[in-house]
Amino acid sequence: MSGLHGVGTVADFELNRFRTASLDGKEIGVVRTRRGFFAVGSRCPHQGADLCAGLLTETTMAPSRPHEYVLSRDRLVLACPWHRWEFDLETGRAIGAITRKRMAVYPVEVVGDDVFVRLPGGDG
């Protein structure tokens, strides 16, 4: 099943703390931040560690070329709890372009007090 999936109410989400759900066969982590809600695939594309147990920062670096370190406070970055690969929370791109692999990201929609994650492939 694809489309919109309810994942709770706004009050269910502690600031900057992931909650996980199994949606459409995928383990999804959803987090409320000061910049809004974000949803990611919880398994790191490197070795599969649980990204939702990682370090969410605001921020160390912006997405950039290898060996170009662009400091920024405009983006949220999620670091894997194992090898500290870092991903842009919004785009899923790896910081520093250390890998072409991306963290899976999904749109989140808030309707009233309800929070939904939109998975690809359906019109909801």
């Binding site: 594309p45 070795q47 599969g48």
Partner: protein, 380 residues
């Protein structure tokens, strides 16, 4: 919305399910226990030494400031035990998070925390701390779960005391190897040979492993060429002490003097082994009388007597590059799987064994070569 059990995702190169790799057994040759507060060891020591170590102004964690810290943490962020304390301090939680889900049949505990004694000037304090440390791990880790097999530490300051410690514990169930916290003395030096003779006689491999003291603490080995400027640079160079130990051991002639000695160089990397052994072989051929005591080519001794561990696995873009290096180092007999749990760069056994290493080496690296070197002490 409730948290759910992990389900497989279409993640390239991973199964997503711990323990799902096609293998029959798994020996993890590098797991790190940590004592949350080493003052719990005080009752196992003499009053003088306990006061010396844990007196009101000095604790074992009052070590020199780490000059090159990891930018976030040297430990896995998801391995903090619910009971509190740092990752690795709770053997029950480590069992729940690592041994059980990954079907680890034996976990070789390498207590690098004992390396805290390296800069100590008080040999007796060092020895008593080490003994208390060993007893604690045997009681609290192996005592909890027999899959935990303990690498007993010895003091790096006093070879005679190190021998007494091995004689005290060699017959104890759960003891699988001897960990020498590497201080600045080369391991091929003859002062260590009596320890090696005893180790070989009792069927105990010698294990060495970075302790965190490298390029950090007084009396520790240094990486070559000067002080690294940051953590990644130092981490990349931690192979230096491993290379030095390997050449020191081989060129000392100890493997001729103690043919059954086995040495495990853990977490120093391995992709450098073919290059160094080729160079050592060349030096041996041209060494003339300088190396008259070495009966065979260095690579022969390495193949026969030295083992390396997989973590941190080098991950070239084309994994066939790594496979070629594995062939050159006879990895079917010289390489042991290791995870480094719960450190920040833990390697997942299913990912490493199923997707990074060639299929025909899987069982050799996963457990068979570990059985060859540690023997029945693994309890398998």
């Amino acid at each position: 919305m409730a948290a759910t059990a992990a389900e497989p995702l279409a993640v390239a190169g991973t199964s997503g399910i711990p323990g799902s790799a096609e293998r029959s057994l798994l020996v993890d040759a590098d797991v790190h226990p940590l004592i949350r507060d080493t003052s719990v060891l005080a009752p196992r020591m003499s009053r003088r030494v306990a006061r010396r170590i844990f007196g009101s102004h000095v604790g074992t964690f009052a070590r020199d400031p780490n000059r090159i810290p990891h930018p976030s943490s040297g430990l896995r962020l998801d391995a903090l035990p619910p009971s509190g304390g740092p990752a690795g301090c709770d053997p029950a939680f480590a069992r729940e998070q690592w041994l059980d889900p990954y079907d680890v049949n034996a976990a070789v505990l390498i207590p690098v925390q004992s390396g805290v004694v390296i800069p100590w000037g008080d040999e007796r304090a060092s020895q008593e701390f080490i003994s208390a440390f060993n007893d604690y791990l045997l009681d609290d880790w192996h005592g909890l779960d027999a899959r935990y097999r303990v690498t007993i530490s010895v003091t790096p300051h006093d070879p005679a005391a190190a021998i007494r410690e091995v004689e005290r514990l060699a017959g104890v169930d759960g003891v699988v190897a001897i960990f020498v916290p590497h201080a600045s003395v080369s391991l091929g030096r003859r002062q260590w040979w009596p320890l090696y003779e005893l180790a070989a006689d009792r069927g105990l491999p010698i294990v060495v492993h970075p302790t965190g003291a490298e390029s950090n603490l007084v009396d520790a080995p240094w990486v070559a060429g000067g002080l690294p400027r940051n953590y990644p640079e130092r981490h990349s160079l931690l192979l230096h002490p491993g290379q030095s130990m390997l050449s020191s051991l081989v060129f000392s002639g100890v493997f001729d003097a103690v043919p059954s000695l086995k040495v495990v160089l853990s977490e120093y990397g391995f992709s450098w082994v073919p290059a160094l052994t080729m160079r050592m072989d060349d030096a041996w051929e041209k060494g003339d009388r300088e190396l008259a005591g070495i009966e065979r080519a260095p690579s022969d001794y390495v193949r026969e007597s030295v083992r390396f561990t997989t973590q941190p696995l080098d991950e070239p873009a084309d994994r066939r590059d790594l496979w070629r290096l594995l062939e050159l180092m006879d990895a079917d007999r010289t390489l042991l799987f290791s995870s480094d749990y719960p450190h920040w760069d833990t390697d997942d056994p299913d990912v490493i064994l199923r997707t990074r290493l060639p299929h025909h080496l899987r069982d050799r690296i996963a457990w068979q070569s570990a059985v060859d070197v540690f023997g029945p002490r693994l309890g398998l």
